[in-house]
Symmetry: D2
Subunit: 269 residues, 4 copies
């Protein structure tokens, strides 16, 4: 490849959190460049957000539908190569589906979709279009994590017997969503976040790390999920016993109500 | 009290581990002095162990029965005040019972007895004799632990919602008992250790710390207990989901097969 | 400003170390873009390095002289705004001088020049051209460092009495330059590095941090500079007693022969 | 030896700091027992302090002179074997001299004496009496420190080139002695502490550790000693450049005015 790869972003406008993180990560390697976007469900905010990023006005689209349609008509040496999706959970599937069906690769923030039905549908589309579909679990990107995975794969720690995965956060220890804070608002709303609260938002990261680093797959689990904060609709704490294929055992716990926030994974042979 | 308190020790002779720790702990405050002992199930080793400690020969007894009998006949300003029991688990109850019945207070290493039947019997004896009976859980002795308990009791951390208690050890990651190592030998033997392996030996410390520090009581639990090392008769790993009275949830896990040994208790509000 | 700022780089080609770090730092904010460069003293390597970065061939120049000349002829909405200099020390002054004299701002890696004479000359040019000249000391860019500076400036730590600044490195503990390693080679060569070895390379960072964070200025010092590795021409270790204006005292020590590399600054009131 | 070693203590009564530490350290090994003492310059406080320690009244002496005289007349299987001296610095020499001259070994807290003249005199007495004289530098007692010394002696770290020894304390950051605090009072008083403040009190520990662990001897030094707190007569901060025999270089700094107290020794090859 003798040029940078070009991408368009869906979500990540003014006031968003994870979109800017994705843009920084993409910029660091200097192999990828942002060329267009539909940064917000508000067309006006989308346009303004694009200006903040020094994009030409004509490539700051009002909606993701418009972006995908217009980009598909541009010459091959100009149009985006892939779409990066960084919207709240309920808006992952629609742009992914449309992008794939119009010939664009997709890199989506996790979870892939809002529910199981959408996930199955998406799987079929990816297969049919033969395009690339990537799901980002950011922690697996750290060199340290990759090194750990390689050490275990090479057998340097022997057979893995016990896995302890933790992801405690404390930012939702109070009823933050009642104050209108944007991140708390959608992450605790079943209509936008999905069926799971802390388990879906961060427990998945702990699970992903545990499986990614050890190369093991969870076979059985017993979970005790709790909503501690009154008035909240989704869980804000979870404790899980794990059994892996091959006999390893483990514990996974995550929390949004633990004062002090960290991400630790501990593996013991 | 204008004199040091005098004690006799059962167990803790040459080759033992925890007895010497108890003697150091007792010595540090300089309020208690060791005056006699039956340090081993081998009369000869008991005598020799007493000499190591500079005790007069006549107060190094061959058996705990002899010690309790003889000490009971000494004048009040000379005989021991209490018996410290630091033997393997199956030998906790017999000397405790006999000491109490002969008028001596008892300070026993945990567990109090080998099984539930003995425990109930011991409870009756303590009540009847009105003597002091203490059970040592060493971790509760640390100033830091007491400070944590006081802070929670004073409400400084608010209402406790989540408790994570961990006690990973790695010393039994291999079949150490097959080498004849004394500590591994009795701790993995159901006849001397009791029905529980890692859960009884160290899980109890994690449980004790969790309840001691938070002031909460465990109401329900779900445990996944495993024996990883082939040929071992007792569990060497345990993962437990906890529910406390009052609504707090938690996780407790302990292990004797985790390379790297630590004791951590984490409490989150 | 409704567009990204454009820069050209001098140095930082294949095999270089600090140039790539500067490009990553510049990319993270996504406010600045690299548009051209003279990446190496070898015209061929310069061209190849530019291709690695997806620059158009015509803006990968053979020499910094060519870059400055050609860029000056480009239309204002296309040519670079400033020159970033990331060459070995003896090549800081020549491109800085030429860039300024041709109307370009300059951002140079430290030290500003190879010796005092060049530094005075450069000072005059900057004054005369009224262009911006920046010298990068990377550690001052960390948010934590800025926070520390602000806390002290706000008087939160009271009057500063003692400053301990340390910068131990271990990479030159052996005669690495004899192996031809590029970084070791020029950093230990008085013709390219200047009069100072470890003191100039890293002691300056410790000094910069100490003065930057405390807001104090060094008034007097007593230094004990050593070359430990046989055959090396510049110092690889330095210990310095510091006296600051206003009465604070301190210690600064740096080393390239200390196994284990870290950068610590400790301030005590 | 088939019995515990017996000692008498000079100093360390109610309100003292280091005496109790010495008693705990002595008790931990259970090889040494305290049998008598002259715990205070106040005869009344000395008696009361002895009672606190459960010593028989007749062996709680009013003065160290009385203790040494009386103990010398007791039968050999009863009298103390050695004298432990834990008084302020100006009272180290007198009891040490008298004890040695009356046939008792001596274990003294550092410094050995108040000034050079006393030190020379003491040296002669020790030589003449052929009794044991020990000077306690507590940090050398830690297993970790001994391990470090052994590693270096065995050449595992190669030739030592650089030594950094630090002992920052913060307890005298304010004019604490003006409040009558007993420890601050004598440690900042040239009549009782001697010619050196922080350098004598804690700098000596850093120096002792540096020489003890490396096995090197300081050959030359340049020191910058400061008294930061107004009205204080002795130094409360010191920064020192070190040159060791054999070519190693180093830095030692100690302080009583650094908020946060620690003891760190760092060695780099």
């Amino acid at each position: 490849m003798s040029r940078k790869i070009r991408y368009g972003m869906v979500g990540g406008g003014r006031g968003a959190f994870i979109g800017a993180v994705h843009r920084i990560a993409a910029a660091m390697d200097q192999q990828i460049e942002l060329v267009c976007g539909a940064f917000s469900s508000s067309p006006r905010k989308s346009k303004a957000s694009g200006r903040d990023l020094f994009l030409p006005a004509k490539r700051c689209y009002r909606t993701f539908e418009e972006m995908i349609e217009k980009e598909a008509t541009l010459p091959a040496d100009e149009r985006m190569d892939f779409v990066a999706i960084v919207t709240p959970n309920h808006m992952h599937y629609p742009p992914a589906k449309m992008a794939l069906e119009n010939g664009f690769h997709v890199l989506s923030d996790k979870p892939a979709t809002f529910n199981l039905k959408e996930a199955k549908s998406l799987g079929k589309i990816v297969k049919k279009t033969r395009l690339l579909y990537g799901l980002t679990h950011n922690y697996t990107g750290y060199p340290l994590v990759k090194e750990a995975r390689d050490m275990i794969a090479a057998g340097k720690l022997g057979k893995i017997r016990k896995v302890v995965a933790e992801y405690p956060q404390g930012w939702l220890a109070t009823h933050l969503e009642a104050t209108g804070q944007k991140q708390a608002d959608w992450r605790t709303d079943p209509k936008r976040s999905g069926a799971a609260g802390s388990i879906g938002d961060i427990g998945t990261h702990a699970e992903n790390l545990a499986e990614y680093v050890t190369g093991l797959q969870i076979k059985e689990l017993a979970a005790d999920i709790t909503t501690f904060v009154k008035g909240r609709k989704l869980d804000d704490d979870g404790n899980v016993l794990l059994r892996f294929k091959g006999g390893a055992k483990g514990v996974l716990h995550c929390s949004q109500i633990s004062v002090g926030e960290e991400n630790n994974i501990n593996l013991r042979v």
